[in-house]
């Protein structure tokens, strides 16, 4: 599996879409920061307040990462080279989820450290760690949804279409007038909203568990779609 992970990393670092999406994500993520900062208590909350907004870029990265691999049939190389499908799936999922985390969590840290020259040290390390413990699994579970979509549709069009649909459903659920808090608790992307609204009324472990369940369900689902699938 290590060989596939290395190959996937090589592909990622030689791609155009990875730095392009990372930069676009950071720009979009930052674009609402000034407005958010006025509405929240600190730069961390201001940063994560908009976390769902550029989520479509992570789904777009899923399109490039999974969709094109199926469309161009390049994933067939791993299979015909004798790698187990479980290893191919896991290697691709791991690299994608870590790359997504690098972009999403990285952008939060850019905001935190980037604000120091203007605002000074307004946050303690303890505060950041305490909240990142909830945010990181939530971010990983968001990218796990992209993994599921990528392996379920196995093409660019389907992955893109389903990704947009997921984004719309998530945004609609989080803005629900009656059940917003329920969705914020059970949709991983909503955990950041709970932090911003100071509505984390359960132990952190509960939120982490919800994110882990999302990750496991998405990964198992994605693997089931890939395990016995006929490749083009």
């Amino acid at each position: 599996m290590l060989k596939i992970i290395k190959a996937e990393c090589y592909k990622l670092f030689h791609s155009i879409y990875f730095p392009t999406i990372a930069l676009t994500y950071l720009l979009l993520f930052t674009s609402n920061l000034f407005d958010s900062y006025r509405r929240t208590q600190n730069i961390f909350e201001a940063s994560i307040r908009n976390i769902a907004f550029p989520y479509f870029l992570i789904l777009s990265m899923g399109v490039c990462f999974f969709g094109t691999d199926f469309d161009q049939k390049t994933i067939a190389f791993y299979i015909s080279a004798g790698h187990k499908r479980s290893e191919i799936f896991l290697a691709k999922a791991i690299v994608f989820m870590l790359a997504s985390l690098f972009i999403t969590a990285g952008s939060i840290f850019v905001h935190i450290f980037g604000s120091i020259p203007f605002l000074g040290h307004t946050l303690t390390a303890g505060y950041v760690v305490e909240n990142m413990v909830i945010i990181v699994p939530a971010l990983l579970s968001m990218s796990a949804i992209a993994v599921l979509i990528g392996f379920a549709f196995k093409n660019v069009g389907g992955t893109l279409g389903a990704g947009i649909a997921v984004q719309l459903i998530v945004v609609a659920a989080l803005n629900s007038k009656t059940n917003a808090l329920f969705f914020m608790k059970y949709l991983p992307v909503g955990h950041s909203a709970l932090i911003v609204l100071h509505k984390l009324d359960e132990p952190a472990m509960n939120y982490i568990t919800i994110s882990i369940i999302w990750i496991l369900v998405c990964l198992m689902g994605g693997y089931l779609f890939f395990r016995r699938a006929d490749m083009k």
């Binding site: 060989k3 596939i4 290395k6 190959a7 090589y10 592909k11 030689h14 791609s15 155009i16 161009q72 049939k73 390049t74 067939a76 190389f77 791993y78 299979i79 015909s80 080279a81 004798g82 790698h83 187990k84 016995r228 006929d230 490749m231």
Partner: protein, 307 residues
Amino acid sequence: MADYILETKAVSKDYKQTLALDKVDLKLEKGKIYGFIGQNGAGKTTFIRLVTGLSFPSDGELFLWGKSGEKDLQAQRKRIGALIESPALYGNMTAAQNLEVQRIQRGIPDKSVINDMLKLVGLADTGRKKVRNFSLGMKQRLGIALALLNKPEFLILDEPINGLDPAGIVEIRNLLKTLNKEYGMTILISSHILSELYNTATNFIFIDHGRIIEELTHEELNEKCKQYVEVKTPTPDKAILVLSEELKTDNYQLMPDKTIRLFEYLDDLETVATALAKAQILVTGLYVTGETLENYFLEKIGGKADA
């Protein structure tokens, strides 16, 4: 069992209501070049996909080097190199980078293999040119290089000469022959260009509607596609006497329609014509003819076109 690189026992594959392969029994021996001949949709690519693990048989059993079962098949596939249909390439990378991805995923420690392969297929001077800007022929060459990267014992090439110019076709043919001769590489090659397969393969497998309809060696095919001089005359008995006594040959056949098939003098019709004329035999037809591989194949599949 272990003498065979690949063996299939009653392998079938159906896609919903379409039967793509129907109880295929095949045995491929080590060190041979197999030409896989069939129309579009005959089942060639489906068969190759099953062998390379890209899809799964609906029924039957598949053996690679005598090993069966999903786990063992996966392990044996490390010994295979494959190019299936159009080469799967990363368009935003260079030829060397495409090879590097494959080198890494196959765990080949020696980086020099990349330059060796690029030289071997004539792409050494492509430098930083992105693969998306390659011609079809260049992509095909790169696909072949990718298939050869791990120095496979069993090479599977599905339509490898698509898009190659005549010089490229000859180069690839010579390359395949060299790989087969010097390294004992077993090769399964499918192509629509039957004359090219005829020049490359040592064995032929004909497939139609998902069924193997015939397996032949090159010698057997030569026998079936034999060229001959057809002699048409109202007096075939006299003509046969001339062939025996004047031309000193018994390598002929009198056909039921009273034409004579002479399997010698293919390049020397003048001598045959002179001998018959001297004996005052009226000749109404004298020409070289015989089955071509195309005709033979079309005959096998019932005269349908699009080989």
